[in-house]
Amino acid sequence: MNIVKGILIFLVILFVGDRLISFVLDQVVSRSKFRYVRLYEGKMKEDVVMIGNSRGVNSFYTPYLKKQYGINAVNLSYNGLPTKIATTFLEDYIEQQQKPKAIFIEVSSLFVKYDFTKKSAIQYNFFSPYSEKLNGMVRESGQWTYLLYNLFGLTRFNSEFFFRALAYMKNDDATWINRYRIKPAILKMTEKMDDFDVYLNEASLQHLADFLEYADQQNIEVRLVLAPYLPMYQEKMRNLDEVIATVESKTNKKIYNYSHALDKIEYFSDRVHTNDNGANVLSDRMYEDGLFSLD
């Protein structure tokens, strides 16, 4: 009898504590200036929304666009962001905020062979109270996981997003920019690499096509962009042009191809990511090409 009583007391403490700590953490992060918290707290009023995976994070530098060209943009890119989740963020933005004038999508998440949507949906569980769609994805990611996540509120905070939200309690994360310079070792490794074929993930392409259709119904202009690669690396891609053509024909959308736009190694932090210099030059190019003419 004592054992049963002991177990019950423990469970009560465990669950009450779990809810209490979750509540406190929720209150704390709701004050964060982290971009996704701002998104789901309804605090975004930007005209332009930019999104992509880590190449989007590093290539789109919104403070420079604002300072140089007066463009009011937000970058919702995230490292390893799968297309399906990126388009879900965009749909939530459209439905929960004012409609943006334009959306820029960096398309290299289409080239990722393994579809991380299911695996990474758990990370995005942090936002599931605010997004029915993300909540649905967590449900699809696994029965046990969903059960655990519903049972314990704290699991929602077991996410990189939570810790980033804490890190940006005072400062806006938009000012972050990659300031690394490419290392000679990476250049050497790239030089030794064999040529390779770029993979096109059909499932991701379908998600993108579906979103474009949705955005079209909402009368929102979407621009597809391919950010720069280190030239030495880009040369190794045998079929990049064919892949771009396939994406364009499937989506009926032109891809603004900047994959070879930056020719100096000083613009890169590694072979697939630009640094601050590269991001600024890319912004200038995009502006010169009229991509930001929104009216």
């Binding site: 054992i3 504590g17 779990d18 046990w144 704290l154 699991t155 905070f157 990189e160 070792a185 490794m189």
Partner: protein, 474 residues
């Protein structure tokens, strides 16, 4: 089946309910054996045959050794057991490595052989159960143990699931008598067992699995990182191995405790050791004990001349390194530990002098930190893909090109892990100052809050991807 999986939790819950429901010891043993085979077979049922073969051979050899007074016969059956177990190990663990080295040597000598790669699956836990069963026959040979005449008891001893795949290596004389006892549920033991299991999960899923991806990225391409990053990788790997393995041992000991069994301690704050000898007395204690009793002491131990002691230490540590993996990096790792132990022995007068002349706590904590730094360095060899990769890493660290913590990649994750590691060390340190088991048993409020806090930490910081335990590969 891994301890950090849903399957295991379900298995253990069902097993435990049946375990305490069955009416007598015999049924309980049958259940333990079936449960253990099921636990192991869940990974790959084919390799159960090896465990069963090992059980039969050692049961037979043990009985025959005990049944005769003829020294030649006794030796013959001991050799049968040792050759069989080492044969299993050599075939499944070392054969591929031997063949590779053979090709390398013939290539060096200019003799042309066309290479063919052997791909042999390493059976889970083979290094543990072979050592365990070998100790059984050796102890009987030494007349330190009576053979187990009940086959069911012996088979359960060999396959007992809490320690089957990654130890602790429990001696027959410690475990076999426990199988003779009638086990009843003991609430106090269960409480302590649950505490250990929670602590083990904390070490494994909160620390080891969180640092694992950071460590992997660093050791894969050490040439891409500056000194501070490489130092972080080396530090994290030492902690990863510790938390992974100590975590597994805690869970194993905790499970056994709930079932009413007592396993020996396997880790006792090894990173607080002020010397290498002390470190090895606290790290993977059951393996250290095995190597000491069945290798180091039979070689002559430290009783002979200094030169002989050095030889014995080196042989023991090199073979200990080889036990960890069929790789040259493991052999060199073992040899380096041998050198550490020898160096420490040679510099003992200096150390004693420092303890006499300087404040004791200053020398103690400086020693702890020095030992820890050198252990991290040795672990770098252990984890490196090959020696070239190790040299790249070591060169990168000692270049001291950039020690700015702000240049650490993945800073948020790294700092989070450091905070959790510090929290664990504080907990470990406190555990040396207070009597934790008594507190847990006598103060229910402390028990509830501490257990709940560990669960909250696991929920908040754990990595739930059922990563294998590091020592499974050994």
């Amino acid at each position: 089946m891994v301890f950090n999986s849903i399957e295991f939790l379900i298995f253990f819950a069902v097993f435990l309910a049946l375990y305490f429901a069955v009416p007598n010891r015999k049924f309980r043993l049958v259940l333990c054996l079936i449960g253990s085979y099921f636990f192991y077979g869940w990974w790959d049922w084919r390799f159960l045959s090896l465990i069963i073969a090992s059980t039969f051979v050692d049961y037979y050899a043990g009985a025959r050794i005990a049944d005769t007074e003829d020294p030649i016969q006794r030796k013959r059956f001991l050799i049968l057991s040792v050759v069989f177990n080492l044969g299993l190990l050599c075939t499944f663990k070392y054969l591929g490595w031997f063949v590779d080295n053979f090709y390398n040597i013939t290539e060096l000598l200019g003799v042309g052989f066309s290479r063919s790669t052997l791909s042999i699956i390493l059976p889970l836990g083979i290094s543990f159960y072979t050592f365990q069963t070998m100790s059984y026959t050796i102890d009987i040979y030494r007349r330190q143990l009576e053979p187990e005449r009940d086959f069911l008891t012996f088979a359960t001893y060999v396959a007992f699931f809490p320690q089957l795949v990654a130890g602790p290596i429990v001696r027959a004389r410690e475990l076999l008598p426990q199988f003779k006892e009638d086990k009843k549920f003991d609430a106090n033991q269960a409480i302590l067992g649950v505490g250990l299991i929670l602590l083990g999960y904390f070490r494994k899923v909160v620390i080891a699995d969180s640092v694992a991806p950071i460590v992997d990225s660093g050791f894969e391409h050490p040439e891409l990182f500056n000194s501070i990053n490489l130092i972080v990788f080396a530090f994290f790997f030492a902690l990863q191995v510790y938390c992974d393995f100590a975590g597994y041992s805690d869970i194993a000991i905790g499970i056994a405790k709930i079932m009413g069994y007592k396993f020996p301690l396997n880790f006792n704050l090894p990173f607080f050791a002020p010397s290498f000898a002390e470190h090895w007395r606290r790290w993977h204690m059951t393996l250290t004990r095995w190597l000491r009793d069945y290798l180091f002491i039979p070689l002559g131990g430290s009783k002979g001349s200094n030169l002989m002691t050095i030889r014995n230490v080196m042989i023991t540590m090199v073979l200990g390194g080889l036990w960890h993996g069929a790789k040259w990096t493991c052999v060199i790792w073992g040899a380096l530990h041998g050198l550490y132990l020898i160096g420490e022995r040679l510099f003992k007068p200096v150390n004693d002098f420092l303890y006499k002349t300087l404040p004791r706590s200053l020398v103690h904590w400086s020693s702890v930190m020095t030992v820890f730094a050198l252990l991290c360095f040795a672990h770098m060899i252990f984890r490196s893909l090959d020696m070239h990769s190790f040299f790249v890493m070591a060169k990168g660290i000692f270049r001291f090109d950039n020690l700015d913590p702000m240049t650490i990649k993945n800073k948020a994750e790294v700092f989070k892990c450091i905070a959790l590691i510090v929290l664990m060390f504080i907990g470990e340190y406190i555990s040396t100052r207070v009597k934790l088991p008594e507190l847990l048993l006598e103060k229910p409020a402390f028990r509830y809050i501490s257990f709940a806090s560990i669960v909250w930490l696991i929920l908040l910081f754990g990595t739930f991807n059922e990563n294998q335990f590091f020592y499974f590969q050994f």
